[in-house]
Structures are given as structure tokens and as C-alpha cells.
């Protein structure tokens, strides 16, 4: 265990966070001004952290690769954010949110972290409302809630179908206020390319100006990574085009451990793939499962005719429809967790009941909800999602059931952090989707926004002080040191190496190949032979990449292809690590489904005796095998049991 000190405070689970806060080291106001913090990323986690740290008095340098912090990937989140307010008086509580999250994550997360998350969830809503986030309200003027998968209560707060946008704009506005106040220096279109470590501590970054291609050095007393998720390793995903693993990977290569890389989430309700030119997949929010019913035909002949385009879904009579989620999981029905819903869709399609031309799609039908509540009510609730669907598919969901299929959406894995959100490199913190901390092997809907904002507003601004309190004697330092020289030289050499390959294959064509391998072997279901094969194929592709990639233009210039190539080089390495992680985990849990380990009813079969741990991988050198470290997970407040949503 050595390397992995989770630093969970003593005491009863409900007291740990308070106990930590009341005994941790703090930095006095005069010293805060003398301490610099780099925050890379301006999504929910990064913007909220940068704003909050600056409000406390720290000097913050904030980075994003987009032209404005407001365009971070978090802006796309649709459905909502959880909190244990119990405003609906339906029996919710901090403990229940904690319980649902640990259970939803299939018992592969740390109890203490999750409890803290549930505890601060309420403050997030309070703060966001005070910022002017226009959450949806009831007629009486109070906040409205909806339900999301994996819960029996309505605890999800939402702003139409644009919750992520509104929460991010709230954080962006707070960030803007601190920029104006001179406490944050904002560096948009500035992409991190390396971490600088001095005497074992994170002390700065090397970043590349996206417009000029020039490299710049930045120093600070601590570095916070808030760079989001790596789903684009699959090429097609619901993430933004620029979402990447590179910043995290640079830290991994510098000694930060990478935890549970194989835990990725496949979202059940996305618009299916339609052509090989396709560049991304579009999510249809989970909130639709509140009113939409998922089904496929009962009869194979009907499925065949749907696949041929001879009939439409609306023509199939009620008695010939198989509402397979309601059938298999009567207690949770259409609101089972994402991993369960995704696998069930795949199972039906594999069995030949798919409903579109590729046979890889199921229906999400609003007919009954429209009959019950009226078309206007349904459109008012989901209007923007319906429009988005219609723009892409040319079909109106009020007339024909939506066609949906699972797609890559989120990663639970990420940089390993302790209770204080610090990685294994002192002074390097990781928050939001880039860390592994709270969702175990499967994330519940509306919990990523909660976690990003919990980390950024309410956890990191405290825990980072426990570290910074020891740095108050360290003066601001220059960047003309050998450590910065070396870190910059590493980047320069890598970029030169990339551009000088001068081959024939475009970055996207190689990235698509990686995506196919990932989806085929490390996607919704995995097995030993496939994982071994995936690693081999990715290694071959990696060789092809480094000998045949074609990148136009120059290094010191605006060069989007070079950015993409750099990210792909890291995705290739990540893909190999994911295969390795998935292979070593000989059990099924949450989003990680190993075909060899399933119950008779085809549900995921965990192995708590051998695998109730976090797998954290250590980089040991470019051509060497990474080393596995295990952080055992113990469950003191929740009884470990097989998830059952029936």
C-alpha cells in the first residue's frame, strides 16, 4: 500500500469532514496573498475552484484551451444536479444520497469521500441560487426537482435541459468577478503541455499558446488539475471535441498514480451512430427516462421490418411491445442505473431486436406521457432536447418514438487522489472528472455536476490550505531554473518529433481506428481474449502513429492538427493501460462488465473478496510495465451486497 495514503480522518462517517475542517491547517489572510495557485481547466470544477480560492485571497492563474472559460465541456451537461435537500419531502437525506451513490457505484468508491459529497451537496444549491442560476421552479416560486436513475426520490435540480450551462455560467461569472478584482489572471487558449516538479513538489506548468504555438512557463505554490474526462479515447463520445487525457497523462508520467482507468460510463440514451464521417455522439438526457418508456418489438419479424424501414415504431401495437426494463426491473423500471440500462439495450440488439437500419438502437417512447400529461406539458419539459433530436435525425419525437443507443459518456477512473484531493505528487491536486474519487465503478446521473462543484467550491478551497500552510515561507519563484528548462525541452522535443514523422495517415483516421478497437474490446462488455487482443492492436496502431502520422503546418503556429495529434498520442497510451486494468480486474462491477463474471440473470457479478480495492497504476518508464498499487476499500456504514434493482 505504501504509496497510497488515503488520509481519511478518524471518527464516525458523519463527523469526519467537520472534524477535518476544524483541525486542518489554515493560511492566514496576509499569507494568502503571497501564495499562487495554478488551476488548469475552467469547467465546473476549475471555474468554481479558481473563483473560490481567489475570494479567499489566493492569487490564481487559470487556464483553458478554449477561447473563453465559458466554453468548457461542462456547458453541455443537460439533465441536472443532485442534492439531498429533501424539498419534495419524499424521504431524502444526506445518508440516502450517500447510500445511493455508493450502491450505484457498485461498491467501488470510498465511503468517506462520498459521504462528504452528499453533505456539501445542499450548500451547492444554496450558492448557485444566490449566484442567480435560474433553476426551474414550481408555481409557488420554490425550486422544482425531478428524478434520475438509481434513486427512489426526486432530488435532481435542473435548469430546463441546460443545467450544466447555467451552473457553468454561474461559476464563470464568479470567476469573471475575480478576474476583474485582479485576483485571477486568466489564460484562455493556453494549453498545458507539461507539469514542472521541483524537489518532488508540483511547482508549475509548461503551456502552449494555441494561437502562436509558443511555449510559456508558469510557476505556483500548488497546481490544481481540473481538466475533465478522457472519453474521447473512444473517438466517438458525448464529450466535447477537445476533451482529452493529456494534462492528466503528463502528470501520470511525472509520478501521479492513475486509478481505475477501465471504469468508463456508457450512457444508455444517445442518438445512434449513423455514418463513418461522424465526429461525435449526442446525448439525450437521462431526465427523459422520467417520462419516456424504453422498448423494442416482441416479435423478431417486426424488428426486421423496422430495420428495413418498412414500418415505423408507432405502427406496432401495444401488445407487441417489449418494455424490457419494466419487465426485468419492476422496482426501478426505466430508471435503473446507466450501466444496467445500457447492457440491457445491447442485450436486446445482440438478440436481433434492434429497431433502426443498423440494428443497433432501441425506442424511447413518449406516447403514454403525452396521452397522460398532454403534448404541451411534455414539450415544455423537454422542448430543447426534442429540437436537438429533430435537428440531427429529422424525426419528431412527439410523433415517432426516439431511437437511442448507448454511447461513451463519462469516466469514473482518473488521477488517484487522497481525501484532500491531492495526487501522489505533493502540491498537485485533481478535481472534477479528472480525478477518480467519488463514483466507484458507475456514476449516477446528475452526480458529476454535484461532484465538480463540491470539489471546486467546498472541498478543495479547504483541503489545499492544509498543504499551502507549509508553503508560506516559500517566496514566489522564477521560472528560469533547470527544472523548467527540462520540462520545456521535453515538450519541444515531443512536438518536433510529432511534426517530423511526415507520414500519410491523418490524425482523425488513426483516432477512428483506436475508437473501433476500444469500443469493440473495452466497451460495454469485455472478456479476456478481447482485452489481450485490444492491447496488441493498440500497440500496433501506436507504431503506425509514430511512423505514419501526417501533421501539416509548423510547431510554432496555430495548428489544430498538432493539438489533436498530441492528444491522440496520449490516448493510445491510455488505451493500453485501460486494457491492462480491465484485464486484471477479474470481476464485473458497474460499467466494467467482464463476460466471464455474470450471474445467471446476466447481471454483473462482483468479487468483493479479491477486488474490493482501487487499482492505482504507477508509470515506471516509457517501455516498462506500469506498477499496480491497491487501495483497499472498506465498508463500515453500508453493507456490501449485490445490487438489485428488481
Amino acid at each position: 500500500m505504501g504509496k497510497l495514503q488515503s488520509r481519511i480522518p478518524e471518527g464516525h462517517i458523519a463527523e469526519k469532514w467537520n472534524r477535518f475542517k476544524s483541525t486542518q491547517n489554515l493560511v492566514n489572510p496576509a499569507n494568502k496573498r503571497k501564495l499562487d495557485v495554478i488551476v488548469v481547466g475552467t469547467g465546473l470544477a476549475g471555474s468554481s475552484a479558481a473563483a473560490s480560492l481567489a475570494e479567499l485571497g489566493f492569487k490564481v492563474k487559470s487556464f483553458c484551451y478554449q477561447d473563453s472559460p465559458r466554453r468548457a465541456h461542462s456547458i453541455s451537461a443537460q439533465g441536472g444536479i443532485n442534492a439531498a435537500k429533501n424539498y419534495q419531502n419524499d424521504g431524502d437525506s444526506v445518508f440516502r444520497l450517500f447510500y445511493d451513490t455508493v450502491k450505484g457505484g457498485d461498491f467501488r468508491s470510498r465511503e468517506a469521500n462520498v459521504y462528504r459529497l452528499a453533505e456539501v451537496s445542499n450548500q451547492i444549491i444554496d450558492h448557485c441560487v444566490a449566484q442567480g442560476v435560474p433553476f426551474s421552479r414550481e408555481y409557488g416560486g420554490l425550486l422544482d426537482n425531478r428524478s434520475f436513475g438509481g434513486a427512489l426520490v426526486s432530488r435532481t435540480f435542473y435548469a430546463k435541459g441546460q443545467t450544466g450551462q447555467q451552473l457553468l455560467l454561474g461559476a464563470y461569472q464568479s470567476l469573471s468577478r475575480q478576474i476583474k478584482a485582479g485576483n485571477v489572471t486568466m489564460y484562455p487558449r493556453m494549453e498545458m503541455f507539461n507539469l514542472v516538479v521541483v524537489e518532488g513538489k508540483a511547482r508549475g506548468i509548461i503551456a502552449r499558446d494555441v494561437i502562436t504555438g509558443k511555449l510559456h512557463r508558469f510557476s505556483a505554490h500548488a497546481v490544481v488539475l481540473a481538466t475533465g474526462g478522457y472519453g474521447n479515447v473512444f473517438f466517438l463520445s458525448t464529450l466535447s471535441m477537445g476533451s482529452n487525457v493529456s494534462a492528466a497523462w503528463q502528470c501520470y508520467r511525472k509520478g501521479a498514480l492513475f486509478a481505475n482507468p477501465c471504469f468508463v460510463q456508457i450512457h444508455p440514451t444517445c442518438i445512434p451512430v449513423h455514418g463513418d464521417y461522424q465526429s461525435k455522439l449526442t446525448l439525450m438526457s437521462e431526465s427523459l427516462r422520467n417520462d419516456g418508456r424504453i422498448w423494442v418489438p416482441k416479435k423478431k419479424e417486426d424488428a426486421a421490418r423496422l430495420q428495413q424501414g418498412e414500418i415505423k415504431g408507432s405502427q406496432i401495437p401495444e401488445e407487441d411491445r417489449d418494455y424490457y426494463l419494466e419487465r426485468r426491473y419492476p422496482a426501478f423500471g426505466n430508471l435503473v442505473p446507466r450501466d444496467v440500462a445500457s447492457r440491457a439495450a445491447k442485450e436486446r440488439c445482440d438478440a436481433g431486436y434492434g429497431v433502426n437500419s443498423t440494428g443497433r438502437s432501441v425506442f424511447l417512447d413518449f406516447r403514454d406521457a403525452i396521452d397522460r400529461l398532454g403534448k404541451d406539458a411534455i414539450e415544455a419539459k423537454y422542448g430543447n432536447l426534442f429540437q436537438m433530436y429533430e435537428k440531427i435525425t429529422d424525426d419528431n419525437p412527439c410523433e415517432e418514438p426516439m431511437m437511442i443507443y448507448p454511447a461513451i459518456h463519462y469516466n469514473m477512473g482518473g488521477l488517484w487522489v487522497d481525501y484532500e484531493l491531492q495526487t501522489t505528487i505533493p502540491g498537485l491536486f485533481a478535481i472534477g472528472e479528472v480525478n477518480f474519487s467519488d463514483h466507484g465503478a458507475n456514476r449516477l446521473g446528475a452526480s458529476a455536476l454535484m461532484q465538480g462543484l463540491a470539489d471546486g467550491y467546498f472541498v478543495l478551497p479547504y483541503t489545499i490550505q492544509n498543504y499551502l500552510a507549509h508553503e508560506i515561507r516559500v517566496p514566489r519563484f522564477p521560472t528560469d531554473t533547470p527544472e523548467f528548462d527540462n520540462a520545456e525541452e521535453e515538450v519541444r522535443m515531443r512536438l518536433e518529433k510529432l511534426i517530423s514523422v511526415g507520414g500519410n495517415a491523418t490524425v482523425d483516421s488513426l483516432h477512428k481506428q483506436l475508437g473501433h478497437i476500444m469500443w469493440e474490446y473495452i466497451g460495454m462488455s469485455r472478456n479476456k481474449a478481447g482485452l489481450v487482443r485490444a492491447a496488441e492492436e493498440i500497440k500496433k496502431l501506436q507504431e503506425q502513429f509514430w511512423s505514419d502520422v501526417k501533421i501539416p503546418g509548423r510547431v510554432e503556429d496555430l495548428n489544430p492538427e498538432l493539438q489533436k495529434a498530441d492528444r491522440l498520442a496520449d490516448f493510445l497510451e491510455l488505451g493500453i493501460l485501460m486494457a491492462k486494468d480491465a484485464l486484471h480486474r477479474e470481476e464485473s462491477c458497474g460499467g466494467h462488465f467482464r463476460e466471464e463474471y455474470q450471474t445467471e440473470e446476466h447481471e454483473a457479478l462482483r468479487n468483493d473478496r479479491d477486488f474490493a480495492y482501487v487499482a492505482a497504476w504507477e508509470f515506471t518508464g516509457p517501455d516498462r510495465e506500469p506498477e499496480l498499487h491497491r487501495e483497499p476499500l472498506s465498508f463500515e456504514h453500508i453493507q456490501l451486497k449485490q445490487r438489485d434493482y428488481r
Binding site: 444566490a130 421552479r137 408555481y139 430546463k160 468577478r177 476583474k180 435537428k391 483516421s509
Partner: protein, 245 residues
């Protein structure tokens, strides 16, 4: 479908740009506009030509990155649609499509179709927020908000900051963008406290940044991909007037 593209190519803000013609064959009508440009870029790279540079990120119509003038209209021919959500089925086989960057004094061209919209961030920094520090807020349900006000606030807050309104306006005015933020915050009780200073500061900065005046042509409303209404400009004017009284 086969297409002829006339695309604006410009090296940087100091260089002069020009239209260059490209031909694309057999484009699938289900492909999005940006995917069509991806296909073009793949071909250009293979031919050792420079790919066309454009901003894009979410490809879901929400981040506001994409910003292209198509056949004389910001975001192209489809109503309430960003470029990334525009699909090629809206065009016909044999069409010529004219593709340009936003053109406005306050949005200098960086390269090809990519422009610098940092002036929008500068505007928000002038008060497009509510001054509340983390951890100091009362319970969220302490202040009920009239549902109509909440809906109005949400509709205004739906602005994605793409800049189509400025690009569409013959005066390159930012009144719709600023109006949306002013009315989002002014229609909530939390935002009233600073309403006066906010409107004064944001309007002053709008002038300082070189955005033009509003002459009520309504082009912004027509072109806004998120349906932000002129009512927000009315609200801005009203708030401004109130603040001077």
C-alpha cells in the same frame, strides 16, 4: 450531394484575406456542416494544403464556439440553429456555399473562420455577475421567485455567447448580448441589489470596446440561434434609464 464551397482564407488579423474555391463530392445529407468541413480538411491535408481553421467544441449547440457566416447569414440558413447543429440536408446537390468568419470591429479575425471574441468576456467582467462569495448563501428556498420571472430569467440566460448578434448587426452592436445578461440578473431578486451599477458599467464598457449602437433593426433577434428576444434590449434600456434617475 456535390458542392462548391467559397471559403474565406486569411492568415492573421494583419493579412488580407480572400475567397478560395473548393469542390466536394458525395456528401451525405445526414452529415453536419462541421463534419462536411472535417471531410474537406482531411482532403486538404492529404493534398498537402493547409486545413481550414474554425472554432468548435461541443458540437451540440451549447458552448457557443462555432461561429461561421454561411451564405450571408450567421450560423447559416436554419432557424434557431448553430453551425454545429446545421445539417447538410438543408442544402441541395450542386449548391455553392459561401463561408466566412464573423465580421465585426470588436471581433478581429485570427485565422480563416476563427475570430477573437474576448471582448464578450471583458463585458461580463464589468458586472455580469452577482457578488456572492462561496459559502455565504442562505438556504436556496428562502426567497421564492415568481415562476414567470424565473422562466424569463432562464430564457435570457440561455445565451451561448457566440456573437451571432454582433455579426448580424450592421452596427456591430452588442446590445442583445448585454441585454440578455442584464435582464437575466435583473429579473431575479438576488440580482436586483447590484442592478444599477451593473447596467452602467456594462454599457460603458460596451462603448469602450467599440461595439456599435442599436438602431432597432432586429437582425440580432432573427439570427440568434437560441431565440434571445429583443425584449431583452428593451429591458436593458429600461434598466439603464432607471439607473440614471
Amino acid at each position: 450531394m456535390d458542392l462548391k464551397l467559397k471559403i474565406w482564407r486569411q492568415k492573421d488579423s494583419r493579412s488580407r484575406g480572400r475567397f478560395v474555391n473548393y469542390f466536394l463530392r458525395e456528401i451525405d445529407p445526414d452529415c453536419s456542416f462541421l463534419e462536411m468541413l472535417d471531410i474537406l480538411n482531411e482532403q486538404l491535408i492529404s493534398r498537402n494544403e493547409e486545413p481550414v481553421v474554425f472554432d468548435h467544441e461541443c458540437r451540440e449547440g451549447i458552448c457557443g464556439s462555432c461561429s461561421i457566416y454561411i451564405n450571408g447569414r450567421p450560423h447559416g440558413p436554419d432557424e434557431l440553429t448553430t453551425v454545429c447543429q446545421l445539417h447538410m440536408r438543408k442544402f441541395n446537390h450542386g449548391d455553392t456555399i459561401v463561408i466566412e468568419p464573423w465580421r465585426a470591429r470588436s471581433f478581429p479575425v485570427i485565422r480563416d473562420l476563427m475570430v477573437d471574441r474576448s471582448s464578450f468576456d471583458t463585458l461580463i467582467r464589468e458586472g455580469g455577475y452577482i457578488s456572492v462569495n462561496t459559502g455565504t448563501a442562505p438556504d436556496a428556498n428562502t426567497i421564492p421567485v415568481n415562476r414567470d420571472d424565473a422562466v424569463f430569467a432562464m430564457d435570457a440566460a440561455a445565451c451561448i455567447g457566440c456573437g451571432a448578434c454582433v455579426a448580424a448587426c450592421k452596427n456591430a452592436s452588442a446590445m442583445l448580448f448585454v441585454g440578455a445578461k442584464i435582464s437575466h440578473l435583473a429579473s431575479l431578486p438576488q440580482g436586483r441589489v447590484e442592478a444599477r451599477k451593473r447596467v452602467q458599467d456594462m454599457v460603458a464598457m460596451m462603448d469602450a470596446l467599440g461595439f456599435g449602437n442599436c438602431t432597432n433593426t432586429g437582425a440580432c433577434e432573427v439570427e440568434c440561434p437560441k431565440g434571445i428576444k429583443m425584449a431583452n434590449i428593451v429591458r436593458l434600456n429600461r434598466e439603464y434609464l432607471k439607473s440614471t434617475l
